[in-house]
Structure formats: structure tokens, C-alpha cells
């Protein structure tokens, strides 16, 4: 009852905000000027090195077929424009949504006949970063596909579910307390617009799901696994929530 009232209120607020002024802010808005400058300068942004890794792999023959991504998709700077902005997307063969990392692995297995890449490894992160870069500056544009709706709803339910020994939901931090400080850390609004991104704390470029796992570990919950239906549902919900915001891949975060 209380939750329904809250959702209704949230919907009303969202509509009013969209009409009046967009209160949504990327995580980069909460960063210090040094980190913002590092993200803005391609020479200084370490995420660009991952994009270079990805570009090399895009053009490298792989697997039994000896085909590269470019053999089928040509020049990524044109063929991959806007792709990351509309993922996750529904995959009819699986009857479920796939995220970009999942799509890359489906292509590797089916079209290159090469083994799937480990999700957080340098190659998978490189390809996802290179593909994400082709959407940089474009608005997040979730597909208008009715088959995604139940998965998105599941993502929203997970987002508002309290979890872990500390018993927090994502929404309690990122909706109710965004802009506040958890110790030294400003709490951002949890927009997925910058991923894969270089995180100084990781000393590496990492995925949105790695970030999810950090937050879940933070509340002392058992994290969902990489590529799980739960994480894809959460990503679907967050991409919808960030609809129209600019893709920033590769972003930098503290």
C-alpha cells in the first residue's frame, strides 16, 4: 500500500520533473574537478586504453571461422553508432534480454566459433568499451519493445528490494539519499551512462555489473553473478530510468 503510493508519487514527480526541469545528473557531476578533467581529456582518460584494446580485437581474426568482428560489421565507427545506447535488447532466440557483453559473446560463439570471453577480462571490457565509445554523446535510447517490459519490472523490483546484512535497497541510497554522503563518498543517482568506465579505486576499466557487485558487497549482500538474469534486469531498469541522458563511455570515477 505504502509502496504503491510511493511509486505513484515517484511517477507523478518524474512526469512533473520531465516537464519542468530534468533533475537527473550523471555520476560525473558529483566528482571533483580533477577527475572530471581526466574523463574529459582523451589523452588522460585511462578508459581510452581499453577502447584501443577493443579496436585491435575488433579487427583481429578469431576462432574457427577466422573472421573478425569487422568481417561482418565493417567499420565500427559507423556500424556500432548508437548500439550501446539501446542495450540490453531482447534476444528472440533466448526469449530473454541480453546485455552488450552477452551479445558480444553470442557473436563470438555463433559467428566466429571462438570461446566466450570472460566478462571482466581485458578483451571483453575492451570490446564493450570500444563499442560504447561509438555512442558517446548520444542519448540513452531503450528499445520500445513490449517483450522487455516484464524484465524491466523485475529490475525495478530488485532496485527497491532491501538486501544484505545492512538491509538497504538500491533506491534507499540512489533515490532517497542521492547527493548525500556515505562517509566521504558522495552518493550518485546510479545512472549507467558511463560504463565500461575506468575507476581509480579499481585501477582498471570495469563493467556496470562490477559496480553492482561492489554496491551489493557494500551492504553485505551475496552479489548476483556476472551475466545473471537479475543484473540484466537491473541494467534494463536503469537504462530506462536514464533514457535521454548522454552516453559517456568511457567515463572515469573515483
Amino acid at each position: 500500500m505504502w509502496r504503491n503510493a510511493r511509486i505513484a508519487l515517484a511517477v507523478a514527480l518524474t512526469t512533473t520533473c520531465a516537464a519542468a526541469q530534468d533533475a537527473r545528473k550523471s555520476g560525473s557531476a558529483y566528482m571533483g574537478p580533477d577527475t572530471q578533467a581526466m574523463q574529459a581529456d582523451d589523452q588522460a582518460n585511462p578508459g581510452m586504453l581499453s577502447a584501443l584494446d577493443g579496436e585491435a580485437l575488433w579487427n583481429a581474426p578469431q576462432g574457427v571461422t577466422g573472421k573478425s568482428c569487422a568481417s561482418c560489421h565493417g567499420d565500427a565507427t559507423t556500424s556500432m553508432k548508437g548500439v550501446a545506447a539501446r542495450y540490453p535488447a531482447f534476444d528472440a532466440a533466448h526469449g530473454a534480454p541480453v546485455d552488450l557483453a552477452g551479445r558480444i559473446n553470442l557473436c563470438r560463439e555463433a559467428n566466429q566459433q571462438a570461446p566466450a570471453l570472460s566478462r571482466e577480462g581485458r578483451e571483453a571490457i575492451g570490446l564493450a568499451t570500444y563499442i560504447g565509445l561509438q555512442s558517446r554523446g548520444m542519448p540513452v535510447a531503450p528499445p520500445d519493445d513490449a517483450r522487455l517490459a516484464p524484465f524491466r519490472q523485475k529490475g525495478q523490483a530488485l532496485y527497491t528490494q532491501r538486501m544484505g546484512q545492512l538491509n538497504f535497497s538500491c533506491a534507499q541510497c540512489h533515490d532517497d539519499n542521492a547527493g548525500g554522503h556515505l562517509g566521504a563518498a558522495p552518493i550518485p543517482q546510479a545512472h549507467p551512462t558511463g560504463y565500461p568506465l575506468y575507476r581509480l579505486e579499481w585501477q582498471a576499466t570495469g563493467s556496470l555489473q562490477r559496480r553492482f557487485r561492489n554496491c551489493m558487497a557494500g551492504v553485505r549482500a551475496e552479489p548476483f553473478s556476472y551475466g545473471s538474469a537479475e543484473f540484466i534486469a537491473l541494467e534494463l531498469y536503469l537504462m530506462d530510468r536514464a533514457k535521454g541522458m548522454a552516453v559517456e563511455t568511457p567515463a572515469v570515477r573515483p
Binding site: 532491501r162 546484512q165 545492512l166 538491509n167 554522503h181 562517509g183 553485505r220 549482500a221 551475496e222
Partner: protein, 152 residues
Amino acid sequence: MRALAVAFALLSGAAYGQALAPFQIEDGEIRASLTGQPGDPARGRAIVGERQKGLCLLCHKGPFPETPFQGDLAPTLNGVGARLSEGALRLRMVDGANVNPQTIMPAYYRVDGLTRVAPALRGKPLLNAQEIEDVVAYLLTLKDGDAPGRLK
């Protein structure tokens, strides 16, 4: 046979954690000490100030000049010992949801009704009974300070 029973008891102890001490909530307070003993305020201060253990300063500010970055999601702890009675503080520590069902403050002495707790922590409260008493004893010493309120 006996050895087996002992081993089994140890095993289930590990699996289910320590049982919580019983307590009674009356008029928004838990009046009796969970251990039957008074807590130690010096140990309590150490728990509150320690980031991995108490976590308190992630959300609250308090008289901890040695801790530079204190959170701002909750009322200050300054003066809390004058605002709340010992029993009200104890209830807050055990499970603040009894006062405010929507609270974000974790229940420090509760093990049920939680979802997907990390396997190593299942069945374990955030603090044990002695630690709760130590923190309550410390909070009671915080008699003066700023007015309460959200420091956003």
C-alpha cells in the same frame, strides 16, 4: 557418539551463528541490559569510531575529531545521550525499524527477515550483545552538542 554430538553442535553453531539474547520492548524502550551487565563506554567509543565495525560515522556525525569524513545521512550523535533514554538508545541499536519502519539505519541486533545476506554473515548480528551494551554506554555519555536534525 558423544564426540559426534559435540562436533554437530559446533557445526550448527557455525551455520546459524550465536543465538540472540532475549529482550523485551516496552513503550519504545528496551530497559534491561542484553548481557545483564553495564557496558563499557570506552569500548563503545572505539566501536562507533571504527569504520568496518560500527559503520556509524558513514551516516552520522559525532565528536570524533580524528575521523575526517563523516556522513550526512542521519542526525548528529552529539547530544544524543540527553535526547534519548538508555532504553530508547538500546532499542534504536537493536532494531530501529521498531521506531521507524522505513529507517535506513541497519538493525545491529537482528538476524531474521533479511534478504541475500552474504553467506559468511548469515545468522550473525552486526554487533553482539556486549558490543551493543558498550555502544549504549558510550552514547549515554554524549550529553551536549548541536541540536538534532538532518545535516544535509
